[in-house]
Every structure is written in structure tokens, then in C-alpha cells.
């Protein structure tokens, strides 16, 4: 449970601001409380919790910027924080064209918060875990995974008048179930721990595990595929990492070619911090309100996300996607949403005469950013699809494929979607996808 109120966080930020002797300043207060129960072989083997509050100060004076951060005894470290930031600022060369700190924008929006998650107990986490391990044991299987609950609050206060506070919660249950010769995977992510559906996770992962026993090798090459949301979120996440940032476009390392159709007309991807299917949070690391951005619409590249720096350079509106400034990473799309289709996921499989169903990708890495080529492995549930039905399991395969080219082969999108939450507070909402081809290489 968080130990400070919103008012206390804002007051702490105010106190830092008051201690700054000159120039502009921005203070970020982040408090985080995380608990996680981890299980393996149907037993709890790691069970942890942590709580911490950090203070970050950005000082801007005389054309110089300095940053300091203190975590630990933060309330008693204000003087040290200011001194460190001033020490950092003093050595930076002066710049004429330093952008001012963002001004207040007067907007607000929803936060994805649940008291049930913030107040979740170790006993409740153990109960959720037991649902999975007991079900697995009853089938003679072994379960592995984790159930986590997290509460975070962020306050941003600046000398330009920004004064924001927001909070969010995240809960996740992930499970691998293994039999003698194969495994399955399932997870659920939610703002509210009450929505984790341990029984549904157990049923799904056990069904996949029991189906995935005694896998045989499959041919490499281009296969028609149905990808589950666990796999699709890797494609969308990496597409964003590679190219949805204005800085990536500026530095000519993004695939985005504006107003050109690069993908199937059925592909739509947005960043929407207010979408209730995601994990809503209304502002970025500078306290600027995050606006919805249409990234891909009808397969056409439309826009990218901006922070105050890229927006100023491009002369466009800041979309409120900043990481803590200053940074060299650039803006970041943190609330990705892929548009749903109209058919049930089960019908996607029914539409494939011969292909592969992929439960999950693993260890995905960028091979060529401009061509959006990534590589990775399938894991815990890859199956033949034969005459519209899931068939025999196949051994894990390596893929090496261009995301853009793969998304140009979309033949079907499910109506159902799943939420995936990252440890950094980001979220991705994606459906099942039927692709006309996906390249497996070894």
C-alpha cells in the first residue's frame, strides 16, 4: 500500500521547489509499492515486496540543465537533492536555445486505479496462486508463474505552474504449466486485481499444456498463422519501439512514411491514454496532458508521438509522451491500442486450411530497424492448424520477419482483445491476428 497521500506528495514537491535558489525547476515525486508471489513446481518459491519513494529535480538556469535523483530517505534529502542538481547544472555548457519548461495545459483525464489492487494482501496473492497450482496438480502437471500487485503515484510540480498528481494500479497473473513433454502459457493483466480471473488462467494454461505434449518438428518457411494476443503484443510493442517516436523519424531510423499505406487496410493502431480497455493515465513525465494519437489508420502511417523537445523542433503540438527530461531516447508511446475486428477469435482458426497457431513469442530483438525486421522464438504452445482446427503441437521455431510486411498480410482480426501491462506502467491492448504469411527461419 502507498504510504503517502496525494497531498503529501505534492507538498514534498513544493518543498523541493521552495529550496531551489534560482532559475526554473521541475520536481517529480514517484512512489511505488510492489508485491509479487512467484511459484514453481506447484510451490511458492519467491515472495517479495518493496516500497520506495524517489525525488527527481531538473534545474534550468543560465542556459544550463542539471538533474539529480534521490531514492531513500527522500523527505530528509531535499537539501542534498538541490545541491546535486546544482552541481550537475553548473558543469553543463550554457545553451542559447534551451526550451522553457512546459506550461500548465489545464486538462485532466482518468487514472486506472483500483483500491482492491493497492490493498491486496499476501494471503490474497497466495489464494490466486493456489487456484492455478491446485488445478495443475489435479491434472498431474506442474505450474510456474507469478501473481503481482502494484500501486504507483506520480506528482509533477514545476516553477512554470505545472501541478499534477496521478496514480495507477497494475495486477498480473502469468502461468506456465508443464507436463512430461511440453508446456502451455496464459496470463491476465488488469488494473483491478479482482479481474485477474485465476480460474480462467488455470483452465487456459492447462488446456494449452495438455494439447502441447510430444511436439514434432515443423518445416521452416512462410506459414499462414494465427497469433494469440501474447504474440501480437510483441509485434505492436516492437513497432512502437522502432518507429512511433518523433525522434526516430527525425533521426531517419523510423519506418514511418506519412500518408503511405504500408500495412493491410484493416490495421489500426493508436496511442490512447484514456482508453478504458488499457491502463489510463492522463499526463507524461513533464506533467503535460497526453493526447490520443492515431499512429496507423487503415494501414496508412498517420502520426507519431511527441514530447516537448521534438514538438518544439518540429513546430507541432506536444502530444504529451515525454519520458523524464532531459533524455536521448525521445518520446514514447505508452498506451498502445490495436483496433479490434468483428469476428470471434475461434473463427480466425476456422478460416485457415493449413497453418500454425502461435501462443507466445520469446526473446524478440530488432534485426533491422528501418525494415522493421525482428527475430525471436515461439514458446509454450505452437500448433498446426489443419482444415480450420487446432492440430498437433510443433516444436518451437525461430522467426525472422518484418513487422510491417507481416501486418500487410492481415487476413483477420478478432473482436476480443487482451491487455498487457509493462513494469514501466505502459500498456498494450491487442487482438488475435490471422496473417497470410509469417516467416520461420530455423
Amino acid at each position: 500500500m502507498l504510504r503517502h497521500s496525494a497531498e503529501e506528495c505534492l507538498a514534498l514537491a513544493d518543498a523541493v521547489l521552495a529550496a531551489v535558489p534560482e532559475g526554473e525547476a521541475e520536481v517529480r515525486v514517484v512512489e511505488d509499492d510492489l508485491a509479487l508471489t512467484r511459484f514453481a513446481r506447484n510451490t511458492v518459491h519467491q515472495n517479495v515486496a518493496e516500497t520506495g519513494l524517489s525525488l527527481r529535480l531538473r534545474l534550468v538556469a543560465g542556459g544550463r540543465v542539471g538533474v539529480a535523483e534521490v531514492r531513500g530517505n527522500a523527505g530528509g534529502s531535499i537539501d542534498r537533492l538541490v545541491r546535486l542538481a546544482e552541481e550537475a547544472r553548473r558543469v553543463a555548457p550554457a545553451e542559447d536555445a534551451l526550451a522553457p519548461l512546459p506550461a500548465p495545459d489545464g486538462r485532466d483525464g482518468p487514472c486506472g486505479w483500483s483500491d482492491a489492487t493497492a490493498e491486496a494482501t499476501p494471503e490474497q496473492r497466495a489464494e490466486g496462486v493456489a487456484t492455478v497450482t491446485t488445478a495443475a496438480a489435479a491434472r498431474g502437471l506442474q505450474a510456474f508463474g507469478a501473481l503481482s500487485t502494484r500501486a504507483t503515484q506520480l506528482a509533477v510540480v514545476s516553477s512554470r505552474g505545472v501541478r499534477r498528481h496521478g496514480r495507477r494500479t497494475a495486477a498480473a497473473l502469468s502461468a506456465v504449466v508443464r507436463g512430461e513433454d511440453g508446456a502451455g502459457y496464459a496470463d491476465r493483466h488488469a488494473v483491478d486485481a479482482g479481474d485477474l480471473e485465476p480460474e480462467a488462467v488455470a483452465a487456459e494454461v492447462i488446456e494449452t499444456a495438455e494439447r502441447n505434449q510430444g511436439a514434432r518438428p515443423a518445416e521452416t518457411g512462410l506459414h499462414e498463422v494465427v497469433l494469440s494476443p501474447y504474440a501480437v503484443q510483441e509485434l505492436v510493442g516492437y513497432l512502437s519501439y522502432i518507429g512511433f517516436s518523433a525522434l526516430a523519424v527525425e533521426e531517419r531510423r523510423s519506418f514511418m512514411r506519412f500518408d503511405e499505406r504500408l500495412m493491410s487496410p484493416s490495421v489500426g493502431i493508436r496511442d490512447d491514454c484514456a482508453d478504458p480497455a488499457g491502463s489510463p493515465f492522463p499526463f507524461d513525465a513533464e506533467g503535460v496532458s497526453t493526447r490520443p494519437v492515431t499512429l496507423i489508420d487503415g494501414g496508412v502511417c498517420r502520426d507519431v508521438v511527441h514530447d516537448s523537445v521534438t514538438a518544439a523542433r518540429a513546430g507541432v503540438a506536444n502530444t504529451g509522451h515525454s519520458l523524464p527530461q532531459p533524455n536521448t531516447i525521445g518520446p514514447w508511446a505508452t498506451h498502445l491500442v490495436m483496433d479490434p475486428g468483428a469476428v470471434p477469435a475461434s473463427e480466425l482458426v476456422a478460416g485457415v486450411r493449413r497453418g500454425l497457431y502461435v501462443t507466445r513469442f520469446w526473446y524478440v530483438r530488432v534485426v533491422h530497424p528501418l525494415r522493421t525486421v525482428i527475430t525471436g522464438m515461439t514458446r509454450e504452445g505452437t500448433f498446426l492448424i489443419e482444415d480450420g482446427r487446432l492440430g498437433a503441437p510443433v516444436r518451437d521455431l525461430r522467426f525472422t520477419e518484418s513487422i510491417v510486411e507481416a501486418l500487410d498480410r492481415v487476413q483477420g482480426i478478432s473482436a476480443e482483445r487482451r491487455l498487457q501491462l509493462g513494469e514501466d506502467g505502459s500498456s498494450v491492448v491487442v487482438p488475435w491476428l490471422h496473417l497470410g504469411g509469417f516467416r520461420f527461419t530455423s
Binding site: 518459491h45 515472495n47 517479495v48 531514492r71 545553451e95 507469478a146 518451437d396
Partner: protein
Amino acid sequence: MRDVAERALDEAVAAGASYADCRVVVRTVQTLEVKNGRVARVALSDDEGVGVRVVVDGGWGFAGVDRIDAGEAEEAVRRAVRIARAGARLRSAPVRLAAVAAVTGEDRTPVVIDPFSVSLERKLEVLLAADAAMARVPEVRVRDSSLEFVREHRLFASTEGARVDQTIVESGGGMDATATSDDEVQTRSHPNSFGRHQLCAGWEAIEEMALPEHGERIAGEAAALLTAPPCPSGRMTLILDATQAALQVHESCGHPTELDRVLGDEAAFAGTSFLLPEMLGSFRYGSEKVTLVADATAPGGLGTFGWDDEGVPAERTVLVDQGVFRGYLSSRETAAVLDRQSSGTMRAWGWSRQPLIRMTNINLEPGDSSLEEMIAGTEHGVYLETNRSWSIDDRRLNFQFGCQNGWEIRDGRRVGLVRNPLYRGITPEFWGSCDAVAGPDEWRMWGVVNCGKGEPMQIMHVGHGAAPCRFRDVSVGPA
């Protein structure tokens, strides 16, 4: 700090813990970054707190709190105890720990020049000079260089009587030059990719990197790669530079020898391992040229320390001896499963996360060849430098790596630069095809600063001693 730890342990015993340990950690970091001629970031940070780990009713509990304060530490103990009790009812057997002698002592990273004694101005001078050197090549669109310095003071105390106090100092630096054209993006790095190379050492490590002296070279290489022909495709001889050899060791030896993975503790996330206990002492992991050790005593490595985070002294453990699989990275709990002693590889990310089995310095022992000898002895192949992408399956068998730079070799000579090189293989087959490793003159300790493992995720700094090495009949091709 000592008082806080003692109070925490007393509280744990009073609350019914059969075992407890406490780590008090103070971490100071300086980060400086220059991008495209501008100082992009000067950031100074302090992080301190207490992590307590308890065994209660046969189950583990851990809690971390961001105050070095006896009352807060006692509260963390109470939280850890409640957590342990909640999970203990789901355990099939109580925690069992391999015995270890209760040690006391102090240790400090030896440094020639304390990096925190060097002015921030001097550090920025180095970065700005490196940036200016890269800027001499007009095709380079993005220039990025950075330095990082870490000082971490760790106190470890356990209910078994261990009391150790150590200070770790790290110095790291690196730079990237990225050239772009309409259809290509090419980056070259020095001394290594992933942003920087880092060692447990002082400012002398930064001086040895000579960043400004290498700026124009890597910028020119990045520009040349834009128009270089694609890497040839097919099965051929592969020679890796020491940095890529280090990453190959990391992914295909370091991780699969982690005993927690072998036992299934990481099965749902990081994965398992193909190196099963019944293979110890007999499985042929690689050729007789291949000897790999976990050495937390090696000078300068990011996995060098006095004691691990269970109070086990730093050790040197043979993992692979002349190609035969011999040992694991282990903890007190996992070692007990095999009726062995811990190899001293439990490490935690700061105070807030519990220790896990992590790599220390996983080193490929030097051989008796040299890079030039290896090239001279190659009819057709490629020599690859500096990692660009890396991927391996969850059992650590099927891998594919990409490198920044490639040189095609014909009849014993480098004949030209090639771009976007990839190679792929299956771990034991790949190491089985190793027919040469360069000698001590070309062997260096490298630092990997982005090794992720565990839930919640912990990023660990680990070391790898490596030298250039050669592999025959490898699948190679362009991205």
C-alpha cells in the same frame, strides 16, 4: 548501518524466522551523456535502503524499504514475515540451505584513480572530444557518448553470524556513431555496444578506452557500412571478435549454467536450461578448445566482489573444462538440492530486490591462437565485430546473433567490409565447432550492463573475459 541490520535480524528471530539476512545498501551514480555536440544529461543520483529476507514456517519472504532506519527495517521484517507465512502453506517442502561458514570482513574494489575524485568538467571534456571526433564524418547523423560511475556500499548480515561490508566501484563509458541513408541505418560503437563498456575499476578504465581517439574510426566505419555489400550467405567459417565472443558466452553458457533455471525456478519467465544435472561431468558442451569458468575473483570484472549476497566468499568455478560440462552457478538453496556447496553467485539489484543466481564473471579461458592466425587459416568466412542483435530460446539452444560489422575472408585475407551480418546455431554444436581461441594477449575482461532476469525484473552488471575465437561450418547470412 550495522545497528539497523542487527535490529532487523533481532526482529526476524523474535517473529519466528528460522533464518534471516539483511542487506543495507547505499548506491551513488553519476551519468553523463553527450549527443550531437550537446550535453544531453548530467545526472547525479543517490539510492539507499534495506532489504530483509526471512525463512518462516519453511517459506521465503522478502521486503525492501527505502529508509536506513531501524524502525523502518523492523517494519520491513514484519512485512516479510507475513509474506513468508502466506506463501509457506503452498510449499511442498521447507527451504533447505547448504551450509556456509559465517564470515566477517571488509572488501573494496581496488582503483588507481577514484572516479568520483575526477571533476564532472573533465568527464564532459572527454565526451565532447569524442563527439567532435565522430562529427568529422558527415554521413553520421546521430552521435551519442556517455560515462557512468557507480559506488555501492553493501552491508550483509545474517542470523548465522555473517557480517560483511564491501564497497564496489564501477567505471563505464562508450559511444555510438549512427549513419543513415534512405534505406539503411548503420551504427558502430566503441568499445562495445549496449551504450557502454564497464568495469569494476577507477577512472583509469576510461582513460584506457581512449574514446576521442576512436571517434573518427567508428564514424567512418558506420558511413562505409551504408554502401557495403550484404554479408555472404551459407555455411562458412566464422571468427568473432572478443566483444561478440563475450556475449556468446553470456547467452549460451552463462544463463544455461544458472542452477535456478535448471531446477525450474525461472521456467515461467527467463526459461529453463538444456544443461541437466545428469549431464554433469560427461556432456560434451564444446570442443576441447573451450574452457569456461565463473570467476568472481577475476580483477576488474563487473562480477567481482568479496562475498555474494548470501555471504558466500567469491569463488572460481569451472563450468566447462576442455569442452566437458562440469559445473553450475548456484545459491545455497539450489546447491542443497544437488547436495553441493553454493558457488557464491547470489546477487541482488540494490536493496529493493531479493538476491537471485546471477552471473559473476563468466570467462572463456584464453587459448593459444591469435586473430591474425585465425584469419590466415580461413579459406572462406567472415570476421564479425560488436553485437547488434541477440536472441536465444528459453532453453538456451537455438540462437541468432547479428553484429555491427563484418569482414569477408578469402584465402586467409580480409577482402572487404560486409553489412548486416547474422549467424545462427545450436549451442553445443556451435561450441563443438570452435577450433581456435586467441591467447592471453588478446584476452580482455568485458562488462555487460543490461542482463535482465527475475520477476520483478532485476538488471545486473556482469563480466566476461573473452578473446577472439573461430568456429567452423556455421550458418551465416545477411539480415
